[in-house]
C-alpha cells in the first residue's frame, strides 16, 4: 500500500499543490486502494496487486493536459527526454566531474612535484652530481608531464560530453522523470553540503602544513609547500567532483538560472584552472631563470592554490545560493 502511495506522490510531485490537485490525488488514491484491496481479496499476491494497480494508472501527462496545468516553467520548443536519457546524462556528468576534478588535481599537483624534486635535489637526496640549475630543470619534467596529462583529460572529457550538450540547452521532462530527479536531487543535498564543508575546511587548514614544517626546521618549508599543495589539490578535487554532480541535477531541473547566458559557466572552473596554473608556472620559471628568485618564488604556488581553491568554493556556494 505504501508503494502505491509513494508512486502517486511521485507522479504528483511536479504539479502545483492546489486544492483541486489535492482533491484529485485523494480520489485517485482511494480508487487505487479499492482496486488493490479487491485484488488482494481475490487471491493476488501483494506484488501482483501493486503491479496491476500501477499498470492501470495510465499517463499523468493525460491529466496534466486535461486540467490545463502549466508546469512551473515555460518550456516550449524544447525536446522531451526520457528517463534513460537523463540517466545517461547524469552518468556522463559524473564521469566528467571526476575527469575535470582529476585534471585540476594534477594541475595543482604539478608545481608540488616540481618543488619536491628541486628540494630533494638541493638537499642532496637525489644524487647524480647535477648542478642546481639542472636540478630545477629535472623538476620541470613531471611538472609539464602532469599538466599535459591534465590538458589531455580536459579535452577528452569535453569531447565525450559533446553528445549531451543539447540537454543543457533546455529540455522538457515527463512528470514521472522530473519527480524522480527531484527526489535524487533532494537526496544529494546533504552529501553535497558535506563535501563543500570538507573541501573548504581542508583549504583553510592547508597552511598548517607550512607552519608545522617551519616549526620543525626552517629548511623543511619546501616540503611544507608540497604537502600544502597536496591538500589544496585534494580539496579542489572534492569541490569540483561533488559540485559537478550537484550541478547536473540543477541543470536538468532548471533550478537556478541555467539559461543560455549561464551555460558557459559550466566549464568555468576547468577553464580558469587551465589559465591560472600554467600562468603561475610561467611566472615561477621567469622569476627563477631571469631574476634567480628560486629561494622565494615557489610562494606563487601555495598562493595560487589557496586563491584558486577559494574561487572554486565561492563559485560553488554562490551557484548553490542561486537555487
Amino acid at each position: 500500500m505504501e508503494t502505491i502511495k509513494n508512486y502517486l506522490d511521485n507522479m504528483f510531485a511536479g504539479l502545483p499543490n492546489t486544492e483541486q490537485m489535492k482533491d484529485l490525488k485523494h480520489n485517485m488514491l482511494s480508487n487505487m486502494e479499492d482496486k488493490y484491496n479487491e485484488l488482494k481479496a481475490s487471491g493476488k499476491s501483494e506484488n501482483e496487486a501493486i503491479g496491476i494497480v500501477i499498470s492501470e494508472f495510465g499517463n499523468i501527462d493525460e491529466l496534466i493536459n486535461e486540467l490545463g496545468i502549466k508546469k512551473d516553467t515555460t518550456t516550449d520548443n524544447k525536446p522531451m527526454i526520457s528517463q534513460s536519457e537523463t540517466d545517461a546524462y547524469l552518468t556522463v556528468k559524473k564521469t566528467m566531474g571526476l575527469q575535470i576534478g582529476i585534471g585540476v588535481f594534477l594541475c595543482a599537483l604539478a608545481p608540488a612535484a616540481l618543488i619536491l624534486i628541486t628540494k630533494l635535489q638541493s638537499d642532496g637526496l637525489i644524487t647524480g652530481g647535477l648542478s642546481e640549475k639542472a636540478g630545477s630543470l629535472l623538476g620541470l619534467i613531471p611538472l609539464f608531464l602532469l599538466i599535459t596529462i591534465a590538458v589531455a583529460i580536459f579535452i577528452y572529457s569535453g569531447m565525450n560530453f559533446e553528445r549531451y550538450k543539447y540537454i543543457e540547452e533546455g529540455v522538457n521532462l515527463p512528470s514521472s522523470v522530473e519527480a524522480n530527479l527531484k527526489r535524487q536531487h533532494e537526496n544529494y543535498t546533504q552529501p553535497y553540503y558535506l563535501s563543500v564543508i570538507l573541501g573548504v575546511c581542508l583549504l583553510i587548514l592547508s597552511p598548517i602544513a607550512l607552519f608545522v614544517t617551519n616549526l620543525l626546521n626552517n629548511d623543511y618549508s619546501g616540503y611544507g609547500v608540497v604537502v600544502l599543495l597536496g591538500i589544496v589539490a585534494v580539496a579542489i578535487f572534492i569541490l569540483i567532483y561533488f559540485g559537478t554532480i550537484r550541478e547536473s541535477y540543477n541543470r536538468l531541473l532548471r533550478l537556478g538560472d541555467y539559461s543560455e547566458k549561464k551555460q558557459k559557466e559550466n566549464k568555468v572552473i576547468g577553464a580558469v584552472a587551465s589559465i591560472v596554473w600554467p600562468l603561475a608556472v610561467l611566472i615561477f620559471l621567469l622569476t627563477g631563470f631571469i631574476y634567480g628568485y628560486w629561494h622565494i618564488n615557489w610562494i606563487i604556488f601555495p598562493v595560487t592554490g589557496i586563491l584558486f581553491g577559494m574561487f572554486s568554493a565561492v563559485y560553488n556556494i554562490l551557484k548553490g545560493n542561486e537555487n
Binding site: D23, N27, S30, N31, K35, L63
Partner: protein, 109 residues
C-alpha cells in the same frame, strides 16, 4: 484489450452510461467498465479522472461527497440533464459512426 486510441472519443459516453442508473464513484465505475466489457477494456486512472474533470467542466456531471464508509470520504458523481442530452447525442452519433465504419469492414478475414 482494445487500444485506447480507438475508444478515446467514447470514454465520456461510457462513464455517463453508468451514471444513468444513479450516482457512483471512481472505483465502482472503473470496475463496472471492466466487468461490462468482460475485461476487454480497462480504463486507466488518468483517463477516468481526466474524463470526470472534462464532464464536470462541461456541466454534464456534478460531484458531491458521499457518506463516509469505513472512514473513507468518497467523491460521487451524478449525471445532469445536460449530461443526459449529451449522452443521447453521443448514442446517435455512434449509430452513424458504426454504420459508416462497418461499410469499410470486411469480416472474417
Amino acid at each position: 484489450m482494445i487500444s485506447s486510441d480507438v475508444i478515446r472519443g467514447y470514454n465520456d459516453t461510457i462513464i455517463l452510461f453508468f451514471l444513468l442508473e444513479g450516482a457512483s464513484y471512481g472505483y465502482e465505475i472503473s470496475k463496472n467498465i471492466k466487468e461490462k466489457s468482460e475485461g476487454k477494456y480497462i480504463m486507466k486512472e488518468t483517463t477516468l479522472y481526466s474524463a470526470f474533470n472534462r464532464l464536470e467542466n462541461n456541466g454534464y456531471i456534478e460531484s458531491f461527497y458521499g457518506d463516509e464508509t469505513f472512514g473513507k470520504r468518497r467523491t460521487y458523481y451524478r449525471i445532469t440533464p445536460a449530461g443526459l442530452a449529451y449522452y443521447k447525442e453521443k448514442c446517435k452519433e455512434w449509430e452513424i459512426t458504426k454504420d459508416v465504419i462497418n461499410r469499410f469492414i470486411r469480416s472474417g478475414m
